[in-house]
């Protein structure tokens, strides 16, 4: 670990969270349904990319920047939980359950797919 790498994590982490905000907002505005599709899009695409990143044999530094910094900041567990709780608080049980189940199933599939694509490269 050196200062440049720490600085890289800071900057690239910031880029990841801004990307999340932009993607989430763009998707959510277009969909505008009850279901928090923006966060789902972010988490699934993040899982796919993280599967890909970990599947590629990258150096420690690059893996840290791409995986932990970029995709760690891009994906979000807390927002997933918060939006599920918001659905539950309006007694929208099915969308809330679907949000948990769909995120898990698609997330696992996306990570596995990313890994598989990395194997082909």
């Amino acid at each position: 670990m050196n200062v440049a790498l720490w600085a890289g994590v800071l900057v690239i982490g910031g880029v990841g969270s801004v990307a999340r905000f932009m993607v989430d907002r763009a998707v959510a505005r277009r969909a505008s349904g009850a279901f928090p599709i923006g966060t789902l899009t972010v988490n699934i695409s993040g899982a796919l990319l993280l599967g890909l990143v970990t599947g590629l044999t990258l150096s420690h530094g690059v893996a840290l920047l791409a995986g932990t910094a970029l995709l760690g900041a891009y994906t979000t567990f807390s927002t997933w939980m918060l939006e599920t709780q918001r659905l539950a608080e309006e007694r929208r049980t099915w969308p809330a359950v679907l949000n948990i189940v769909l995120s898990l199933v698609l997330g696992l599939a996306a990570a596995a797919t990313g890994h598989w694509i990395a194997g082909l490269l």
């Binding site: 907002r25 505008s32 966060t39 939006e83 918001r86 309006e90 929208r92």
Partner: protein, 353 residues
């Protein structure tokens, strides 16, 4: 005797005017002009003339919620400040309505018919150990008002003094407003007790028509001409009081209303405000409980448009409030819509019977 006016602005919270937020600049303006009463309310969901949805369902979208800012003072003060408010606002809606201030030396109780009584007080003012807003709701409930909703302000002026909510503060006098629906007789009966309260509420009344109560249609929005005798446009406002937990087709009624209005392009906008306390229908006054299944607080949806669009919007609202909801309608004598496909209306008050 001078009358009183209420100016209301509906806008997006993140809009800027130069280097400052528009909402902030508006409150600064009200402070500078010592406006007697003003309040900024942060909404839950809504849309404007560009039909872009604002909602707290998604974290990213909740960053720019719809807000409602209302200011109340004499004809002269509001008349003078209205053009300056319009100049600050790049995009949004401004309305000016006539209100009666109850309880001053020139108190005029409304004569007959349905009224909306608005009661402004400090959000953390108490009577003994009871929060002021709960005491007011109990009083209104005892007088058999059809409903009441307490809305928490985040900023405002009280007697010309700025009262802004802060994270680390008692926020004693940050304004809160209770909007209650009842009859003129009920308002007259409740007024002496309200004014005797030690929390010094500011009480105003507006004439309305109750269209629906508990899902039962009483009256459609009255037919109003598109323009008055001087050619000034007339507008109408629908307010729908429902509960956070009442649903239509698996969706809370207020979300369904916003969704349908947007989908059918029935109205140029809508704003939903969530209350902290209140009642309507058979329920006793209540708020959220610590352990509960879904939130129980009242919500208020406001739609303002031309009489023609209000008639169309009412058809949608009527279907969605088949079992629940208190729906009221009133005439709005001045509306200015800014930044939409075209600027519409003006700030000069129309005359209507």
């Amino acid at each position: 005797m001078t009358g009183h006016l209420k100016l209301t602005a509906y806008l997006g919270e993140r809009q800027r005017s130069g280097s400052a937020f528009v909402a902030e600049a508006m409150l600064d303006l009200f402070t500078e002009r010592s406006v007697a009463s003003s309040i900024m309310l942060r909404g839950v969901t809504g849309f404007g003339s560009r039909h872009v949805l604002r909602t707290d369902e998604s974290l990213s979208l909740s960053e720019d919620p719809p807000i409602t800012i209302a200011a109340l003072d004499t004809d002269d003060v509001i008349g003078a400040v209205a053009d300056d408010v319009a100049a600050l606002l790049p995009r949004g809606l401004i309305t000016v309505e006539r209100v009666r201030l109850l309880g001053g030396p020139e108190a005029v109780a409304p004569d007959a018919g349905a009224v909306r009584v608005s009661i402004a007080l400090g959000r953390n003012r108490r009577i003994g150990t009871t929060p002021g807003f709960a005491a007011v709701c109990d009083l209104l409930y005892r007088h058999r008002f059809a409903g009441a909703t307490a809305l928490l302000g985040v900023d405002g002026t009280v007697g010309g003094q700025r009262r802004r909510a802060h994270f680390f503060s008692r926020n004693l006098d940050v304004p809160l407003v209770i909007i209650a629906i009842g009859t003129a007789e009920q308002a007259r009966a409740a007024l002496p007790e309200l004014l005797a309260m030690t929390i010094h509420p500011m009480v105003t009344a507006e004439r309305i028509v109750v269209c629906k109560r508990d899902g039962v249609l009483l009256q459609r929005p009255p037919a109003v001409p598109a323009i008055d005798s001087h050619g000034r446009p007339l507008w109408q406002k629908l307010m729908i009081h429902t509960s956070e937990s009442t649903q239509h087709d698996g969706q809370p009624i207020h979300r369904a209303i916003v969704g349908q209005l947007r989908q059918h392009r029935a109205a140029m906008g809508a704003t939903v405000l969530r209350g902290v306390w209140g009642f309507h229908g058979d329920q006793a006054p209540h708020g959220d409980r610590f352990v509960q299944w879904g939130r129980q607080v009242p919500v208020t949806t406001t739609i303002i448009d031309t009489p023609e669009n209000i008639a169309r919007s009412f058809d949608l609202v009527d279907d969605l409030t088949a079992e629940h909801g208190l729906v009221t309608c009133e005439t709005v004598p001045a509306l200015l819509a800014l930044g939409g496909p075209q600027a519409r209306g003006g700030l000069e008050l129309a005359v209507y019977p």
